[in-house]
């Protein structure tokens, strides 16, 4: 009846895990109780669980990401704590199995449930607005994607309570992740959490490729797309052609574990190396999936806060495409030591180094954009500067690791760990946080607090260096990754410093949550009346904050790369039509949460081999989708009178903030030729409420 699931799965010998469960269940009960007490369930159901609005879906993604940022960070802190306190030859406070679950959980959660949802959340919020669209191409599919991600995250969460999580590392290498060496439910939880979130990401990729290629406002040619839109287009294409490799690798591993096939076993003709190859066929493009949109965010930030056109737009576009292409030809550098000949290794090593060239082009483009610009050191600009310096270092250590000979020495050491944190933290995390601050007022209608934001920035930046420079040292000293204990006493000094770094990062994360709280508390004072708090250059700043459900009352006409800036210069910003028209928008529907719930139960049932439940879930999903396909009444109408009223209110706010005087003063696209005396800082205008 319940497959392999027995009450034993609930029994945890480790007091730390019991404690974690108490916290998790306690927090869950508290949230449910509060929602019930304040009667918020109806509101949540109507406005969030059934919504197909891309802006709300983006918010849900980011909420998921922040929850998993905390969980992933706690895992990392516990790993650091173990290694700092264990001492040479000691036992430490963690068992080897628990330690392995922690580093597996940290990697899995940070990549799949923190970075990816955060990224997709920002894509959801910004892309339709930047291209002048009213929604993504497939709003329902979009909602299914977000709730599938939530379902996958729930599987990770429930593994803490029922059974255990994988101990096989975030990459789950065979044969260790095979049934023989990992007989418990952990690897199965890992497989299905990744599988469901991977399918969700594939659907997102399909959705955004179509949205960007098919839904741009009239006049927005490919070479007039904002840089963030370009990078998301390239990332979405990478998603579509690389995630299926992960899907297949995980599916075949699941078959090996559940029905006894021999794809990746080390006996009966299976090939364990094939898994590793297939995993990295996805895994390397994944690195660029994570990093390219962050590059796009930095481009938006640099142009906005330097009030200049992007330097070398065309070279930036080609560099993005070059990186996307090259990302498919370098996966072997993750396993130089597999045993292929030096010729293969050399070729993949050179291909890897070549990626540094388009990346360098981008770095120079950002620097030249800043050159002779009037840089406003707002928070996103700080993240960008922190990124530039830190990322170049990480890139350098990457070029070093790209040399097969050096990699034979360094691979699987803490040097590697330091390297990929050194690219992913500035390259992805800093970009995400810059975008978080940059687009927050657009979504919520008030700006984020600057002071706590700066605390967060310095916490992350200083913490990063203190935590990861010692890992470079340790790597050179020969310390392998993933050690629950060690016998070299000289390592401990550096590990203690790294742990201190983790504490400083913790302060950065704490400050970010304080920043959100303080900004929400002072939301009246921080209100963004105009929808254009930063003097923006792209279309998302042409509409109110928060935008109405339909985004654009009238679909804008694009005449320049910096579409909104052109409108301001040519004095056609905020133009109103003679007459508004009815707008058709997609209806809310419970289908996404139904599909997500069925997927969650399918994953859970597969983990515990409850085959009847898994079968029912598949049947239920197919039935729900077929039933939905018979429904052609999927849209509702927002009447022109409603649009008119919204716009009247928006224009009243624009007048109140004296925006039109400010726009009259803009004569230039904002570049180095602007005479210094006439320059009006858009930010000082927004805070003082009057033109400068």
């Amino acid at each position: 009846m319940f497959g392999k699931l027995t009450l034993d799965a609930l029994y945890h010998y480790d007091p730390i895990i019991v404690f974690a469960n108490v916290i998790m269940i306690g927090a869950g009960v508290l949230v449910v109780a509060l929602l019930t007490y304040y009667r918020k369930w109806g509101y949540l159901y109507r406005e969030w669980f059934t919504t197909v609005d891309h802006k709300k879906i983006g918010v849900v993604y980011i909420v998921i990401a922040l929850i998993f940022l905390l969980r992933g960070f706690i895992d990392a802190a516990m790993v650091r704590g173990q290694q700092a306190t264990v001492g040479a030859g000691g036992e430490g406070y963690l068992s080897a199995a628990h330690f392995a679950e922690l580093f597996t959980g940290h990697g899995t959660m940070m990549i799949f449930f923190m970075a990816m949802p955060f990224l997709v959340g920002l894509m959801n919020i910004a892309i339709p607005l930047q291209i002048g669209a009213r929604d993504v191409s497939f709003p329902l599919l979009n909602a299914i994607s977000v709730w599938l991600t939530a379902a996958a995250g729930a599987l990770v969460m429930i593994s803490l309570l029922v059974g255990s999580f994988s101990e096989a590392g975030w990459s789950g290498y065979t044969p260790f992740s095979g049934l023989e060496h990992s007989p418990g439910p952990g690897v199965d939880y890992w497989i299905w959490a990744l599988q469901i979130s991977g399918i969700s990401t594939t659907l997102t990729g399909v959705n955004f490729v179509t949205t960007i290629l098919k839904k741009r406002a009239p006049g927005m040619t490919l070479m007039r797309m904002p840089m963030f839109t370009w990078t998301v287009l390239c990332t979405s294409i990478l998603i579509v052609v690389s995630f299926p490799a992960l899907t297949v690798a995980l599916a075949l591993l699941a078959l090996d574990r559940s029905v006894g096939t021999h794809f990746f076993t080390s006996i009966m003709g299976g090939d364990q190396m094939m898994y590793i190859n297939m995993f990295w066929l996805w895994g390397h493009p994944e690195v660029y999936i994570l990093v390219l949109p962050a590059f796009g965010i930095f481009s938006e930030v640099v142009t906005t806060y330097c009030n200049k056109r992007l330097f070398g737009y065309t070279s930036m576009v080609w560099a993005t495409m070059a990186i996307a292409f090259l990302s498919f030809g370098v996966w072997v550098h993750h396993f130089y030591t597999m045993g292929q000949d030096p010729l293969r290794n050399s070729i993949f090593g050179i291909a890897t180094m070549v990626i540094a060239i388009p990346t360098g082009v981008k770095i120079y483009d950002w620097i030249w954009t800043m050159f002779r610009g009037r840089i406003e050191y707002k928070l996103p600009m700080l993240w960008t500067l922190g990124f530039l310096i830190t990322f170049v270092m990480g890139g350098m250590s990457g070029v070093l690791l790209a040399i097969p000979g050096a990699d034979y020495k360094m691979h699987n050491s803490l040097f590697l760990v330091a390297h990929f944190h050194n690219v992913l933290i500035p390259g992805t995390m800093f970009g995400l946080l810059a975008g978080f601050y940059y687009w927050w007022p657009k979504v919520f209608g008030f700006r984020l607090d600057e002071k706590w934001g700066r605390h967060s920035f310095w916490g992350w930046l200083v913490g990063f260096y203190v935590a990861f420079v010692p890992l470079y040292m340790l790597g050179i000293m020969g310390m392998p990754r993933r050690m629950v204990t060690y016998d070299n006493p000289t390592w401990q000094f550096w590990l203690v410093i790294a742990a201190i770094g983790a504490i400083i990062v913790a302060y950065g994360i704490f400050s970010m949550f304080m920043q959100i709280y303080v900004s929400w508390r002072d939301r009246e004072k921080n209100a963004d009346l105009t929808g254009d708090p930063w003097g923006g250059r792209t279309l998302e700043w042409a509409i109110p904050s928060p935008p109405p459900e339909y985004n654009f009352a009238v679909v804008p006409e694009v005449r320049d790369r910096d579409a909104f800036m052109e409108m301001k210069v040519k004095n056609r910003a905020y133009e109103r039509p003679a007459k508004y028209e009815d707008i058709h928008m997609p209806k809310s529907t419970p289908l996404p949460i139904v599909v997500a719930a069925l997927s969650f139960f399918f994953g859970f049932a597969y983990v515990w081999h409850i085959w009847w439940l898994a079968g029912l879930c598949v049947l239920g999903t197919v039935a729900a989708v077929i039933a939905r396909s018979f429904n052609d009444e999927t849209e509702f109408v927002i009447p022109a009178s409603q649009v008119q009223a919204d716009e009247d209110a928006f224009h009243a706010r624009l007048k109140q903030a004296d925006v039109f005087t400010y726009i009259d003063g803009i004569q230039e696209f904002g570049d180095e030729r602007t005479p210094a005396g006439q320059y009006v800082s858009p930010t000082s205008r927004a805070t003082s409420g009057a033109p400068g």
Binding site: T202, K214, A245, V259, T261, I267, M268, G270, L281
Partner: protein, 206 residues
């Protein structure tokens, strides 16, 4: 049903265009399916010589059976194409007829494939026997699963044509189903050219 049939037929034909948003989106999904199958082909080629002392392709493949399956699937591509021709002519009953023909051929293909699987497993050559057999069942089985879902989709579309008539949304779905069905035939060409024919060939001359 339609007050102005000629106008409606134009709408129906426009909905079946390849460059509508939703049809292009489905095409993008098919690209991900291309990669999915290419990974399974990769697994098969890598494991195709790993018999672990078990049966080889020549022991289990039958050229006769594969030939019949291939003919059925190829003919079903033609019948589906003729369904799309009928769509552009606005002949609902013709579409249903050609879809039924396609479904019959698809069911024949699938029935043949499943009985072949049952036969092979019955001879002790199941997917747990060797890396080669795992990869064989994984690849061909995934294709078969796609055909199975294609058949469910055909049944759904026949029902929609009967209930709703040839409306633009139905035409749009038929256009995507046609892409899906032709795509399955493309994959099958790769299957018989990579799995069956070389396998039988290697057995025949050694």
């Amino acid at each position: 049903m339609a007050s102005s049939p000629s106008y409606d037929l134009n709408r129906v034909r426009a909905a079946a265009r390849a460059d509508t948003e939703v049809n292009f989106g489905f095409w993008a999904y098919l690209m991900s399916d291309v990669v999915l199958f290419s990974m399974l082909f990769l697994a098969y080629v890598n494991l195709s010589q790993r018999f672990a002392g078990g049966p080889t392709p020549a022991d289990i493949f039958s050229l006769h059976g594969v030939f019949l399956e291939t003919m059925a699937l190829l003919a079903s591509s033609l019948t589906f194409g003729l369904a799309m021709v009928s769509l552009h002519q606005g002949r609902k009953n013709h579409i249903i007829g050609w879809l039924l023909a396609t479904a019959v051929l698809g069911i024949y293909f699938l029935w043949h494939e499943v009985s072949e699987f049952v036969h092979i497993i019955h001879e002790g050559a199941s997917f747990t026997r060797s890396g080669f057999l795992s990869a064989y069942f994984g690849l061909v089985g995934t294709h078969g699963a796609h055909v199975f879902f294609g058949l469910i989709w055909i049944a759904t579309m026949i029902a929609q044509l009967a209930v709703k008539g040839l409306t633009p949304p139905v035409a749009s779905r038929l256009a995507r189903l046609s892409l899906f069905w032709h795509f399955l035939d493309l994959v099958w060409i790769c299957v018989f050219s990579t799995v069956y024919l070389p396998g039988i060939l290697a057995g025949g001359s050694s």
